[in-house]
């Protein structure tokens, strides 16, 4: 199937003109009622068709008896009623539904529901639709102005997500939103009775709106196809994979060394090494890596290796140097030439002018941040790092420095960036404790940085992980570019 065919096939899912909602009650309290309210608030402009066996009206909208009775065919049906009644409902849709997402549980995730799930898949085929779920939470597609989440960015972004877990999908939207991630879509696929992770991955690979892909996988429905899709994609879009359940299987059946060594995890590590998808272990790492890929264009000709740390906090810089080294990133001291050039700036005592560059707040706020600009200019011109991490310990600023210092510093960094376009990945770390004033400053400052396209991390270690993910992708593409 060509990329255009894939895009066309899923257009009604990601940009539905008509949405049917099954399970909304006249009392307006059920999950489907909430879904209707959310998509209206989110700005959905198409027709919404509540489906109800008897009610004439739901939430002020005319209701219809079955999926086959709606005025227009249904692009997307949201279904949350008791499991047993769904197969018959889908089978009777008479080819008038393109995509149905079954939120309800009680299917293949429990032993007693396995047969019902097969009936569900068969019913979807008989009714002429493609099926998402069951046992999921829904779909978030800003370009279609549809969302299952309470809050979500309205802006259409470039990060496409598939999550096997509905709850984690919600986490990804919410946490991503507060970190500045902007999504091209997020689909929760649940039990994957029909469409699954692989199908959505194929869509995101074809979709020009999507530049970065994130997958949360618990069990591969068809690992072989996943491998083949990713291999054929040649990592042309970064794929970040959060894999749950990386435990060993088949130990008991193993009769040789190879058998006993082949835990599931080995296959996932192999998948990552062979296809360039970046495997991460935690939700934080997942969001951190996606944020790096969203903001920073991978430089596959010069993979990230040498990093300059610049900021306030000597101990934090030392610890970060160690941590980055363990991740395969070099924070190596500057050559004498560079140290001399920095010394010529005549910085106040207490400023460490090797790498890491450790500047007390006093230095950072000199000349309204102009000093930082001079330092960075020397660093970019002569040290030529692949990445520059500016880290600011907010506790040292708030109440002690002029409020505009933080802004000045960021503007200084951006001016240097603009002066050396594409030279180094620029990453900001805003360190803070739980003091409300600090958190408020961080939130405000993060929003401004994110608006300027700068990825912001809470700690140096998070920034290190994200740069390591970027490095893994860049190296993979570089290593395969000659082949």
């Amino acid at each position: 199937m060509s990329a255009q065919e894939i895009i066309d096939r899923y257009a009604p899912l990601f940009m539905p003109k008509t949405v049917a909602v099954v399970g909304a009650s006249t009392k307006g309290a059920a999950l489907p009622n909430i879904f209707i309210r959310r998509i209206r608030e989110f700005g959905f402009e198409g027709a919404i068709y509540p489906i109800h066996p008897v009610a004439a009206e739901i939430d002020g909208l005319p209701a219809y008896r079955t999926l086959a009775d709606t005025p227009q065919p249904v692009d997307y049906a949201y279904i949350a009623v008791s499991a047993a009644q769904i197969p018959a409902m889908l089978a009777a849709a008479a080819g008038r539904v393109r995509f149905a997402q079954v939120i309800s549980s009680g299917f293949g995730e429990v032993e007693a529901g396995k047969e019902l799930q097969q009936q569900l898949a068969a019913a979807a085929r008989a009714g002429g639709m493609r099926l998402l779920g069951p046992n999921c939470l829904g779909l978030y597609t800003p370009r279609g102005k549809v969302t299952f989440t309470e809050i979500a960015p309205r802006e259409v972004g470039t990060v496409g997500i598939v999550s096997q877990s509905g709850g984690l999908g919600t986490d990804i939207v919410r946490r991503g939103m507060s970190r500045g991630l902007k999504f091209s879509g997020l689909v929760t696929v649940g039990n994957c009775a029909d469409l699954g992770t692989n199908d959505m991955l194929e869509f995101y690979l074809a979709d020009p709106q999507t530049r970065v892909i994130g997958l949360y996988i618990e069990s591969a429905q068809d690992g072989r196809r996943l491998f083949e899709i990713l291999r054929a994609a040649h990592a042309r879009k970064p794929v970040v994979m959060l894999k749950g359940g990386r435990t060993r299987q088949g130990l008991a059946a193993a009769v040789s060394h190879t058998g006993s060594l082949a835990g599931d995890d080995r296959a996932w590590v192999a998948l990552s090494r062979q296809t360039g998808c970046v495997l991460v272990d935690t939700l934080d790492e997942f969001v951190d890596a996606l944020l790096a890929f969203q903001a920073l264009a991978p430089r596959t000709q010069r993979p990230t290796q040498r990093v300059v740390l610049f900021g306030n906090g000597g101990g934090a810089s030392v610890l970060a140097t160690d941590y980055f080294a363990r991740l395969g990133l070099d924070v190596t001291p500057f050559s004498q030439t560079i140290v001399d050039a920095l010394a010529a700036l005549g910085l106040p005592p207490g400023t460490s002018i090797t790498n890491p560059v450790d500047c007390p707040v006093g230095t950072l706020q000199q000349e309204d941040g102009r000093v930082a600009e001079k330092i960075l200019d020397v660093v970019y011109a002569s040290a030529e790092p692949e990445a520059l991490v500016m880290h600011l310990n907010l506790a040292a600023f708030v109440g002690r420095a002029k409020p505009e210092v933080l802004d000045n510093l960021m503007q200084a960094a951006l001016r240097v960036q603009a002066h050396y376009p594409g030279k180094a990945h620029f990453v900001l770390v805003l360190r803070a404790d739980d003091e409300p004033e600090l958190l408020a400053r961080r939130r405000e400052f993060r929003a401004r940085a994110v608006a300027l396209g700068i990825p912001v991390y809470d700690e140096l270690s998070n920034a290190g992980q994200a740069l390591a993910a970027l490095q893994a992708h860049e190296r993979f593409v570089q290593s395969r570019s000659g082949a």
Binding site: S219, A220, D222, G223, R224, F227, Q249, G250, A254, V255, S256, H257, T258, G259, L261, A262, D264, R266, A267, V269, A270, L271, R273, Q274, S479, R480, A483
Partner: protein, 232 residues
């Protein structure tokens, strides 16, 4: 006998695995070097077989009942004459540990020149299909589990990266004054096993697991000294 027939025969005899000789025929048919060998029924055939091979030789018992031949006393190395060989066969047949086992025969092989011991393995993953594995022999695999897996098919670059992934990779370059082992030779074996036209994809449904343990790798080449293919 061609490979298909060998596999069918093993199945028809309800065997769980190919015998070592059949396993090596399979490897040889994919271009992997195996020692020159002969299969004999008993001590009477030792002299004739010995004459066709270049000593020193190794003698290995062939029995579907014995998983670990050397642990059971079913391997005798460094045989320099036909008489020594015939004696070794008789001793094995009389040893208490082996007497109860079904004995298919004895594999008489030329001994591979010394080198680095490497393990090449394969396992069928329920999700991803055949996986190929490499590790360094001895404690590296058995104690440290220092191995690298890839999903088949692998490319030459994948195979090179597998070796680079090993924590003991430096051993292949000749650590502690030892001669280096040919990484190209290992890569070639990995491709013949796990590559696009490799053994595992050609026989995707035939085997559940496989081991070449050890593959002896010298500066110039690699020889599969033992092979085990578990039928699916």
């Amino acid at each position: 006998m061609n490979i298909r027939d060998i596999i069918s025969k093993a199945r028809s005899e309800n065997r769980t695995a190919l015998d070592e000789f059949a396993g090596k025929q399979l490897l040889a048919s994919f271009g992997i070097s195996v020692p020159k060998s002969a299969v004999i029924k008993g001590a009477d055939e030792a002299a004739a077989a010995f004459a066709k091979l270049t000593p020193p030789l190794v003698l290995k018992i062939m029995s579907p009942d014995i998983l670990h031949k050397s642990d059971a006393g079913g391997v005798k190395v460094n045989l320099k004459s036909a008489v020594e060989t015939a004696d070794a066969i008789r001793r094995m047949m009389n040893s208490p540990a082996l007497r109860a086992a079904r004995i298919d025969g004895f594999l008489l092989e030329e001994m591979a020149p010394g080198g680095q011991e490497v393990v090449v393995g394969a396992v069928r993953d329920p999700q991803f299909g055949p996986l190929v594995m490499v590790g360094l022999g001895g404690i590296f695999v058995e104690v440290l589990a220092d191995v690298a897996f890839r999903i088949c098919p692998i490319t030459r670059l994948d195979a090179r990266e597998m070796l680079a992934d090993l924590k003991g990779a430096a051993v292949l370059k000749g650590a502690r004054g030892r001669k280096p082992a040919s990484q190209d030779a290992i890569v070639d074996v990995l491709l013949k096993i796990g590559g696009e036209e490799g053994l595992l994809l050609c026989h995707a449904d035939d085997f559940r697991e496989a081991d070449i343990n050890p593959l002896i790798v010298s500066e110039s080449g690699a020889v599969a000294v033992d092979a085990r293919f578990v039928l699916s």
